[in-house]
């Protein structure tokens, strides 16, 4: 039997001896106690960070809402209550929308005053494509900027040469999503 074989046998015996060693039971108790003492501190830290992050997010949202009021929105949406039967026969009757109280779909709680140029707007003109559509139970006014090249398709007279290439317009859209009438906002 050479030294290597003896060494292997001795190491195997020592391995069994080594593996039989276990940490004392009191150590587990100590570690669990220490961990439970540290746990509230961790939970407190998590709660503190959560509150801080929530506060920061709330402040950020408030600031964004405060300063996000656009000077001239590209699209503005207003919803009118159901029009009286005698005025819903034709979309042209909607040309006095400015006098109808409007409800806006805007997250701001305080209603914004009507744009000052609204009084100078042209009357609503029924769209050719709206012929035969039922009168909407609820109409929405959408303001957007359109190309003057496309005015003819809405049944409007194209502007003279040299006029701006786009013009602000308002569409009356029914609850089915189909436009009923248009008017230009100077």
């Amino acid at each position: 039997m050479n030294a290597h074989t003896q060494l292997d046998q001795a190491l195997e015996a020592l391995r069994h001896e080594h593996r039989s060693v276990q940490p004392p039971p009191s150590l587990e108790t100590t570690i669990l106690e220490q961990a439970s003492l540290a746990a509230p501190r961790r939970a407190h830290t998590v709660r503190t960070w959560t509150i801080a992050l929530a506060s920061a997010a709330a402040i950020a949202i408030a600031v964004i809402l405060l300063y996000s009021r656009p000077s001239h929105p590209a699209i503005e949406t207003r919803t009118t209550p159901p029009p009286p039967p005698q005025t819903t026969q034709t979309p042209a009757a909607l040309n006095n929308t400015a006098t109808v109280p409007l409800t806006r779909h805007h997250p701001r709680s305080t209603p914004r005053p009507a744009p000052i140029h609204q009084s100078a707007a042209t009357p609503f003109v029924p769209l050719p494509a709206s012929e035969g559509l039922p009168a909407p139970a609820q109409a929405t006014v959408i303001r957007t900027r359109i190309n003057t090249d496309s005015l003819w398709s809405y049944g409007l007279t194209p502007p003279p040469p040299g006029a701006p290439s786009t013009v602000l317009a308002e569409f009356v859209v029914g609850e089915d999503g189909l436009p009923r009438a248009i008017r230009l906002i100077p």
């Binding site: 050479n2 046998q9 190491l11 276990q22 940490p23 587990e28 570690i31 669990l32 961990a35």
Partner: protein, 200 residues
Amino acid sequence: MFLHRRQHRIEQASDPELLLAAQQGSSDALAALYHRHSPLIYRYTLRLSRDSAIAEEITQEVFLALLRNTDRYDSRRANLSTWLCGIARRQLWRHFERTQRFVPIDSPDSDAEPFDPPSPDDDPAQHLTRAEAIAAVRHGLDELPLLLKEVIVLCEFEELTYQQVSLILAIPIGTVRSRLHRARARLAALLRHATENQPS
């Protein structure tokens, strides 16, 4: 019944799952992790330090460090026992540095490792009894430099793979192999010396 099922679920859970639960305050999960991994940590530190108080202290510190630094553990790189053993080793080495017990292996005489070729001329009549051989190797282990001793403990006693040991010791696998070879050569030489010196 419910407790039994819960206990079974904890025993079946993977280390990362238990770790997450322990970090969220589950003492059952921490206890399960402790039962899985504390023997290796305790035995390793006890064998190297030869002091049960130090082994207990380091084992405790390792598990508290585990809770504090859970996010540093990457299960894709190493299994948890390897990672914990690495922490234990660093703690132990700090202790040795404080107590001046650390003996570097790369001393000038490290090249003069005993050469231990196979010896076909061993006299069959001259060999130690099993008990004598075990005693000689146990004594030889205590005399080994720490860097060789820990390789014997991890590779031979704990039967970890070379890769696991290389991660724990933060050395290449080739260095693990060479250290293990040198440690075994020293122990074999010691055994041979004991055989030669035994009374006939």
